[in-house]
Amino acid sequence: MLSLNGIGKRFGGLTALEGISFNVGKGSITGIIGPNGAGKTTLFNVATGIYPPSCGAVLLEGKDISKLPPEGRARLGLVRTFQNIELFGKMTVLENVMVGLHTQSSSGLFACSFRMPWQMSEEKRIRARAMELLDFVGIPELAEVQAGTLSFGKGRLLEIARAMALEPKLLLMDEPAAGLNSSETAELADLIKKIRDLGVTVALVEHDMDLVMDICDQLVVLNLGTMLAEGTPRQIQDNPAVITAYLGEE
């Protein structure tokens, strides 16, 4: 689904990532883990086009997307959520999801200002679809609430609904469980599995090991900007290099 080939990223003299290569299998849930400062978020930003890679290539279904801006990648089905939740705070919950449906609609400046009939029916369709998505994540009652006033947990659910609006083939989630309490995390785990069951490939960066071990089919471990290990959760748990990186030398 997604292949990273020899990704490197430098900020001035600082090497944030070096020689990262792995595949995210279609229909899988892949976890990217590693200690703080390992380069996980940077890797996400490179994969989604927020930063260009210094070297290497990002391939989506075999197609090189390294040069595409974020909105171009979104159109191809590569969608992400953010660690600190990037909602449109001054808009309502429903409107947030409707922005997510931007790529599923096409009315431009003229059609919108003149309220063309096709624009009106498109608007109706978007609104109905946005409500469906709020149902899917379980917050339909919050539709008219201003997004900036949501709790962190609800905000996370909204962000996922908004990302799902783009009908992603691959959903990248940056620390989805960060800031959630244990019952919210359990709900999140169910939701992520539900998303996978819809045929969406999921890749996530996460610190919560219980969550990762529970839902991931495949893990990639980063340390100091390089790849330390790759394998199933079981293999990673027993990998001596990983244990050293997390717990230090014995």
Binding site: F88, K90, M91, C112, S113, R115, A165
Partner: protein, 321 residues
């Protein structure tokens, strides 16, 4: 949706009936400029209040519209309506062309770049004396006319300007409550997130910048035909700041706020006559006070004040456009 329609109809009715009690007096004349300034403020508000992109050069587009129509109709004797359309299209193309490099900038840098555009255009009005008459202005611009109806009185001009203004206000209301408007507000809240959602932020910013320039140019053309005389002073940096003050006072991100701000700040200079050139200090103070104490502008402030004064009754607040 329906309440928005009714709100607009009530507003349009008030506008259309307004001149009756005034019977063409001085106030009618002032309200012509309220109409022009409303659209100029609205254009800037679409850009700043909705998309979050500042422009300190709006007066330039207004001036280009006015001088374009003025020169084409006096020196070249072109039909004023034809000139208006041709000039507006050219100004829009100009804005589109400079929009791509300029709108890559953010914050102070964007403010400086648009300020620069405004200043350069104003210098051009002053220096191209052969074409524009330079600092002494351009006179003898004809009134607009349709068939035998010539717009030569305050009352006629009032309706001329406000029919255009109402049209643009209606289109703007439609725009902000649509896919395009949501895209703009998303860019304002978080450009990165908007782009990840597939919103083409770069293009949309340029589109709304172009739209605001187009609206300003049309108003510029109307202005020159209403005034029949124009001079560069009306299109300087000072006026760009005035427009900015209008929308900050009225309400950023509100269509009706733009109109309220235009109404207040068009009436205000009449009262500030005694301060003469120092009125810009008053604008500065207003800007500072509003951003500190009432960042939502008067359209948010007045209902909030009302709620505080009448706590028992529930004041229903319409979804703000």
């Amino acid at each position: 949706m329906k309440s928005d329609r009714i709100k607009f109809l009530v507003f349009a009715l008030v506008v259309l009936l307004m001149p009756l009690p005034l019977s063409g007096g001085y106030l009618t004349n002032v309200l012509i400029f309220v109409g022009i300034n409303s659209v100029l403020a609205l254009g800037l508000n679409l850009l700043l209040g909705y998309a979050g992109q500042i422009s300190l050069g709006q007066a330039a587009f207004f001036g280009l519209g006015a001088y374009g129509s003025g020169v084409l109709t006096t020196a070249y004797g072109l039909n004023p309506w034809l000139a208006m359309i041709a000039v507006a299209v050219c100004v829009a193309l100009f804005a589109f062309a400079i929009g791509f490099p300029v709108l890559r900038l953010k914050g102070h840098y964007l403010a400086m770049a648009t300020l620069g555009v405004g200043v350069i255009v104003n210098i051009a009005f002053n220096e191209t004396v052969d074409l524009t008459g330079g600092p002494s202005g351009l006179s003898g611009i004809p009134n607009l006319s349709i068939g035998s109806l010539t717009f030569d009185s305050d009352l006629k001009n009032y309706y001329l300007v406000w029919v255009f203004a109402l049209g643009m206000i209606l289109l703007s209301l439609n725009l902000v409550n649509s896919r395009f408007g949501r895209g703009l507000r998303a860019i304002h809240d978080s450009e990165v997130a908007a782009r990840v959602m597939g919103v083409n932020a770069r293009l949309m910013k340029v589109q709304v910048f172009t739209l605001s320039a187009f609206m300003s140019a049309i108003m510029g053309s109307l202005y020159c035909h209403v005034m029949t005389f124009i001079s560069p002073n009306s299109f300087g940096f000072h006026f760009s700041v005035e427009l900015l003050t209008m929308i900050v006072i009225g309400g950023l991100g509100s269509v009706y706020g733009s109109i309220l701000g235009a109404l207040l700040l068009t009436m205000l200079p009449e009262m500030l006559r005694t301060f003469q050139d120092y009125d810009i200090i008053v604008y500065g103070l207003l800007l500072i006070t509003m951003t500190i104490y009432l960042p939502g502008g008067l359209v948010e402030g007045i209902p909030a004040l009302f709620r505080r004064l009448v706590p028992a009754k529930k004041v229903t607040e319409g979804s703000d456009a």
